[in-house]
Amino acid sequence: MTVTATIRIQEADFDVAQEIATLSKGRTDVGAVVSFSGICRGSEQGEPIAALTLEHYPGMAEAEITRHADEALARWPLQGLTIIHRFGRIAPGENIVLVVTASAHRRAAFEAAEFLMDYLKTNAPFWKREESARGTNWIEARDHDDAAAARWTKS
């Protein structure tokens, strides 16, 4: 059976429990579901923030996430895959991103979810801007995120 990833780039919030249930409901071949939720923190570098605003590149965001979803489906035996990434203004405590992987066994589900998040961080065309008492600032990319993505590249 060919597995197709569900990929959504949206401004609206999503229901994590519902997305997890959708991947395993009515199936007996799924033995493991792993989900990662990225949530807006209330502070950045120790300073309280009012909100994040995520800018994205429409068209490329979908294309880039689809490329990595296809790579994950080729590398791990997944039975289901859902990736949702929000854009727009997001308040502390709200969801930003969701990756759900379903597989017969846990290792593939864990590894594929981690691979996808490492690549989303460094390759998906989204940019976070923080709002705080000091004004608005673009959040800088972190070297350790690049290192996390690089470890999945086979030499």
Binding site: E55, L120, N123, F126, W127
Partner: protein, 83 residues
């Protein structure tokens, strides 16, 4: 070709997109950055550290030595901070 700018590159350039027709000697992404930088101070400010700037041609990441011939849409943006 259409150019698109995102995040602080967009803010510094002062526009989200534009259509340009660079001369034939502008062959690579790096050439294009140089050509834009020479246009005015806004581009010079946006591209003041060219090694920081990331680029995409027709929705795919490229390195700055990539050829731009045949490109429909080229985007410039800072390192990504999604996820």
């Amino acid at each position: 070709m259409k150019l698109k700018y995102f995040a602080w590159v967009r803010e510094r350039v002062g526009k989200a997109e534009e259509t340009v027709e660079p001369p034939a000697e502008v062959r690579t992404v790096a050439d294009l950055i140089g050509w834009l930088t020479a246009r005015d101070d806004a581009y010079a400010y946006a591209f003041e550290k060219p090694t920081v700037i990331r680029a995409a041609i027709d929705h795919a990441h490229v390195k700055q030595d990539a050829a731009i011939i045949g490109a429909r849409e080229i985007a410039f943006f800072p390192p990504m901070t999604g996820g």
